[in-house]
């Protein structure tokens, strides 16, 4: 999930207001797919082409960016691929695919923990998560929760525990 964290940070820097993360495990065809879709500022074709270049970054604090190139290399090493679709003003969609059973395929790790971290540390962003295993799926949208909370922070201890359980239970229910 380290790479997903990287991709999400790119979306945040692109001033996304909504970020949708989808993770799909297709056990029959032995594929693991993930997408991150944002409504940020997007990129032109030239920028998309250059983004796999390890010496390309939009950052100003240092001159190299390895997030996307490393993610792409990890996918390709596992009979997979990585694609970025973007246009200025249209947001960005990153889709990555792995052979699920590949020995070099990185584990998903603590999915609930990672999602919870996004939710509470970037609380201004509208989050959508979808975790799918074959036909079973867990869909999470933080908007109804935030609406209900009316500004009470997600980090209130009982709400934090509530969110943690909600995500964990939802994920456990579809986990193979």
């Amino acid at each position: 999930m380290l790479h997903i964290v990287d991709v999400v940070q790119n979306s945040v820097r692109a001033e996304a207001k909504t970020i949708e993360i989808t993770i799909e495990e297709d056990l029959r065809n032995d594929r693991l797919k993930a997408t991150v879709q944002d409504d940020g500022m997007g990129m032109d074709e030239k920028m998309v082409a250059r983004i796999s270049d390890p010496f390309m970054t939009t950052r100003t604090t240092r001159k190299i960016g390895l997030g996307i190139p490393l993610f792409k290399a990890a996918a390709e090493a596992c009979n997979g691929s990585l694609q970025i679709t973007s246009a200025p003003g249209q947001g960005t969609r990153l889709a990555v695919e792995f052979q699920r059973s590949h020995i070099d395929r990185m584990p998903l790790g603590d999915l609930a923990g990672t999602l919870l971290t996004f939710l509470i540390t970037y609380s201004d962003i509208h989050w959508l998560f979808c975790y799918k295993v074959n036909e079973r799926e867990f869909v999470f949208d933080d908007e109804p929760i935030k609406k209900e909370l009316e500004g009470v922070p997600l980090t209130e201890p009982t709400i934090l525990a509530f969110l943690r359980e909600l995500l964990q239970e939802g994920i456990d229910e579809v986990t193979p």
Partner: protein, 121 residues
Amino acid sequence: MAIKSLDELKKLKTEALKRREVTQSTGRVQVIVPMGTPGIAAGARETLKAILELIETENLSDVIIRQTGSSGLDEWEPIMQVVIGDQPKVTYGKVSPERAKRIMKEHVMGGKVVTEFVVPQ
């Protein structure tokens, strides 16, 4: 999402609001953890996890947690920054989960900066 869980959330919100009225005097606390690749490689996720755990176990109200990209202080990662009310930001370095818990207890809850973990300027 099930209706049942939103009802439960409503109850939690009411409780949280009541609790905040009691503790309002302390002022809002912000905890910032840089989660760039260097931070994560150094263990920032475990640090953040420890902070969240402490919020739950100590029932800490009114703490806002944020993440940022790389701090530029790679050799000090994982970094944890604490801002209480209008006070200046305090930057801690090499914050292991144990250190994070101490900072939460002594600085966030106790109001006393843990000087031994502060990154020298």
